[in-house]
Symmetry: C3
Subunit: 332 residues, 3 copies
């Protein structure tokens, strides 16, 4: 039986014994060769809580998974082996899939995340780790009485990515804005007003000063200006999945509800939704036609502005791009 | 003498002996029955610092206030009993009122908060708790020399809510954006760009990706899009107090300087201030009249857009809503 | 040899022995008198790692630098003495210059920061201090196995200012949004959506709810509304350096790509870029001319709006201001 994904990690349980958090130092996707054989021989499909002693054979045959270090600690470990990319049915599976994306082993929108919300509890992420919100008040009072540090950083289904993985070559001004399950490509900088949701991200290099919504991907060398918005499918964006191709710029406080191809810009302060009526202007300054922005979805070489004299939303482009974009939509 | 509010808590003092922070695990508003009688019999109106030994009688008669746990610790406690909702005159009173709102015992705009700024010191909220900013440099140097953790999360009169109370059924991506004194109704989700000030909040369920300014309330099922703004009375919004009724949506990077009734929308990227000139359009597409947005304050069933072809700000509504909204303002 | 800047501090090294962080409790700029003489006599120009024992003479002659406390700790210290404001060539020099600005010893844009990016490593700022990102995974796993707190707050070249200096008379809602090297004048309040980059800041008093980009300064009594943007030279703002004079307001979700003089306002939601075509309207309501906003750079007494009926971007001003602003540009 093949292995789609595999990881050994450190679970956190709440007081009822439910797993509410998992840390996988070295998850694997579609392992091959000796590693795949070792996993196939020494693990069982599914999610399992095991004692370190149960993993010595696996550790001997599968180096590089960080298992050795974990075996030295006398505490239960969680082992997840997925044979296919099926719907999520356990909390550790959900954490494993989020790890895969943040470890750059899977691009956003390529994993089956069905069931993820149902399998992630709302957790208080605190200076004492993952805590069930129901247990908080008592712990907070105890800490206060003892003058001990107890900080609640967030109360959410998704933890911050940087407490699980820091991808190489990235800069993150404020880690509380990047959820586990974000994909940050090499050369990505996320400024304080930037935010990246799970199952979304950047190919890199990119400058992110705005909000990358769930499902959204930024192509190489594209920038999202300060406070800029990408409309997510979870947040009322409807059917259209937003993305930016290469060399795009959404200006500060701008936004897009349509996917953009390559070399597109939206001027600062302008929000293009799928329903925005746009006058398409060619390189001679002539208005070619007026369309809803959704008709321009995926097109390249487009500059969107709101004319500062007439208030008209315009897409400035050229005849070549118009022809190509029409072809794009003819094929849809 | 009746009790308007009551709480026993853990105070933090600065080096001069002033109280700069109070944690009340179980504040009460307008207690009744045996509890009210016990409080009346065993406490004195006002703000008092007491030793645990002074509270044994009260603890015996008033269960559920977390006093038992506090009595076990050998440290001074703070007791606040307010007989009426008077102006704030002590720091513990200020903290108590903020607790009442965040514990959902009082809605925003229903408590007398006069005097709150004068009674809250600017405090450094750190990994060692509340610290007087004047004491910081020495503490930071000591910590550095000992390689000890010392983090300053904020320097503000108001601490973050989640270190005092986590209301049930909420999700908060980044707790540093919710001040103590925020009211988060059941089913509220606050995303990384969301923020909720003290004395403001959500009835729930709500999705908050924008800024809920002081005094602002969001009704049931209303959403504030990413980066959306609600104009606060503290921040130059003037006399008008902003609120959203039920089933409203302020789109991403939009904003409102007027209160909205039910089922209103403001499109992404559009900011409606009280002075914005708005063309009111009925269901037949006819312009009924042009008014300043403040004339539409509180109206329902309104969709605000900036026409993408003409740049005109429009309120799309219907004859029924127009008639009702005119009545609303006739009664003002 | 004169001293341009001087400081003794606590360095952090990575596992390779490189300095990745410095804390200077009491940096000096252009010291004079006895202090300058003591520094001249007992220190050597450049960046040096020294043992406390090497600094006893300096400590005896130069009080007020926090050296005494540092001498009691048995750990290496870092001493930086700059004889002139030359390009940055070491990490401690970079940290010293950032400290100078945040300590209000140098205004933004007055120090030579050439070389700062090359001399600041990307560091993980964690609950265990500054950590080389390459060392993180092993540390995170160890902490997890021991149930110890290990939080990664940011991964960046610049740390948060408040862990190094808290200037007097400021309020900061969320310290993760203020980089070391920010200048916050007395009376500055930074709200949760506010952010201040290095080498930028506020003269004070100011209310900052938006983003102060690198190089940008806000004059006395000027406010940056919620989510408002100032275009930075690092982020595609081009040649023009943005600043706000006194008594300006950039409304919520607005923005500016040009410097503003005194008493200017940009209405909420409006973004003025250098290329925005603006109709200049005098006090009689007459359109004087239509110009690109860059022609208005630095002018005073201007109110920018987008007309809500026609969509036209207007600068409302008066004949006096127009004359003065024309003079301003005639002299450029």
């Amino acid at each position: 039986m093949s292995t789609f994904a595999f990881a050994v990690g450190v679970p956190t349980h709440n007081r009822s014994g439910d797993i509410i958090d998992c840390f996988f130092p070295a998850p694997l996707k579609e392992p091959s060769g000796d590693l795949a054989a070792a996993i196939g021989a020494h693990s069982t499909p599914g999610t399992h809580i095991m004692r370190p002693g149960d993993l010595t054979e696996l550790a001997r045959h599968a180096a590089g998974l960080g298992i050795d270090t974990m075996l030295e600690a006398d505490r239960p470990l969680v082992v997840v082996r997925l044979t296919e990319d099926a719907d999520i049915t356990t909390t550790p599976e959900a954490f494993l899939k989020l790890h895969l994306i943040s470890h750059r082993l899977a691009l956003p929108n390529t994993l089956n995340l069905e069931g993820i919300f149902a399998n992630l509890a709302t957790v208080a992420w605190t200076s004492r780790g993952a805590v069930d919100p129901a247990d908080l008040t008592a712990l907070q009072l105890e800490a206060r009485l003892r003058d001990e540090y107890f900080e609640v950083m967030s109360v959410d289904k998704f933890p911050k990515m940087t407490n699980y993985v820091i991808p190489s070559g990235v800069r993150i001004a404020d880690s509380s804005r990047i959820r586990l399950g974000a994909f940050l490509g090499e050369g990505t900088t996320v400024m304080p007003s930037g935010a990246v949701n799970f199952n979304s991200g950047t190919i890199g290099p990119n400058m992110v000063e705005g909000r990358v919504s769930q499902g959204v991907i930024l192509g190489e060398d594209s920038d999202l200006g300060g406070g800029a918005s990408t409309m997510g499918t979870l947040s009322g964006g409807g059917e259209i999945k937003v993305s930016l191709g290469r060399n795009c710029l959404v200006g500060a406080n701008g936004g897009t509800g349509i996917p953009l191809g390559d070399r597109c810009s939206i001027e600062a302060g302008l929000y293009i939704t799928a329903g925005t009526l746009v006058s398409v202007i060619d390189e001679y300054g002539d208005t070619v036609h007026t369309v809803k922005a959704r008709e321009l979805a995926g097109g390249s070489d487009m500059l969107f502005i709101r004319h500062s004299h007439t208030g008209e939303v315009q897409c400035r482009t050229n005849r070549n791009a118009i022809a190509l974009n029409e072809q794009l939509h003819a094929h849809n």
